[in-house]
Symmetry: C2
Subunit: 190 residues, 2 copies
């Protein structure tokens, strides 16, 4: 039980960055070792279950971040419009203006997606539900609000792919800006 050279949280953070860049299959232990600054054996000390264990830790951490920076602000008692703004800001930071891939997407598309499908599903559902609540607080009927929340999360996922595919951040930016109109069903303000 010697003092760790870095907190486990930091290790998980770095693992997350690596998975984002490389995908699950592409993130080899050698690369994860490089990314964390720990030797492979040390990684196994932290994560006895190996790579799958590391991925799960990353997902757990992400889930925490989402809870803190997305769900909680959405459930605060600020005016609904402000809550949306706060979430947009958090999302913008989290994906670094669209430059970073979405780990949820990475895991969904990976060959080993079955390992993580439950965790991923819960995260998506939680996000959508919290967003729908804000819609309701804005006077939208519950089922419609849910549908619109689902649609925006869908757009966001797509935007993170297309942004990288087109090599331009504009789609990401636009998707963030569209949030209020999507939730309010305000039509496409083009």
């Amino acid at each position: 039980m010697r003092t760790p050279s870095q907190p486990k949280e930091d290790v998980i953070e770095k693992l997350g960055e690596a998975f984002r860049r490389l995908g699950y299959e592409g993130a080899t232990l050698a690369k994860l070792s490089l990314a964390t600054g720990l030797q492979k054996a040390s990684l196994y000390h932290y994560f006895p279950g190996g790579k799958e264990d590391m991925a799960r830790a990353v997902l757990d951490q992400i889930n925490g971040v989402i809870q803190e920076h997305v769900i909680q602000p959405l459930r605060s008692n600020s005016p609904p419009q402000d809550r949306l703004k706060q979430m947009v800001k958090a999302v913008d930071q989290f994906y670094d203006g669209g430059k970073l891939n979405c780990l949820i997407g990475i895991f969904i598309l990976s060959a080993s997606h079955k390992l993580f499908e439950n965790d991923v599903r819960l995260m998506l559902k939680g996000w959508i539900a919290a967003l729908a609540e804000v819609g309701v607080a804005m006077g939208v009927k519950a089922d419609v609000a849910h549908q619109r929340a689902q649609q925006w999360v869908t757009e966001l996922q797509g935007a993170l792919i297309i942004t990288r595919g087109l090599g331009s951040k504009s789609v990401f930016r636009r998707t963030l800006n569209r949030l209020p109109e999507v939730i309010l069903g305000a039509g496409n303000a083009n």
Copy 2:
């Protein structure tokens, strides 16, 4: 030059299915061999450049399919509404109702994305441009039409991820149905 046991096209088709299921990194030669019914050495006969070569062939084939079933119908001289309907039908078939992953997304998120980014970008741009033309034919101003086309393709990519993430086809279905309203900017008809 003996007669091949199956046309090269069929081999590429099967490779494509494998890449969709497994991702680029996850598609090992052993699995590609299984998927095609050809031994590894035979695959190298068709694709001397190895896995990268196979992926490129798959992308080329997809590009052909898109040209034939998406771009061409969009540029036909049917009424714009019918052109959209035709594309939706093709897309529905192509992704088998949302069950199949999008190869474009797979390659974009893969660790080796740089190998394919040019091909992918061209395909996306071509699709968006053709879709925007239909918008123009419907009376939408060119720049607005382009933005809306871009938005729908974004939604489609997102839908293919979320559909798998939530394990329900409804998001995919909805995205297909939304095409006309997105292009026309008709607001969210929820």
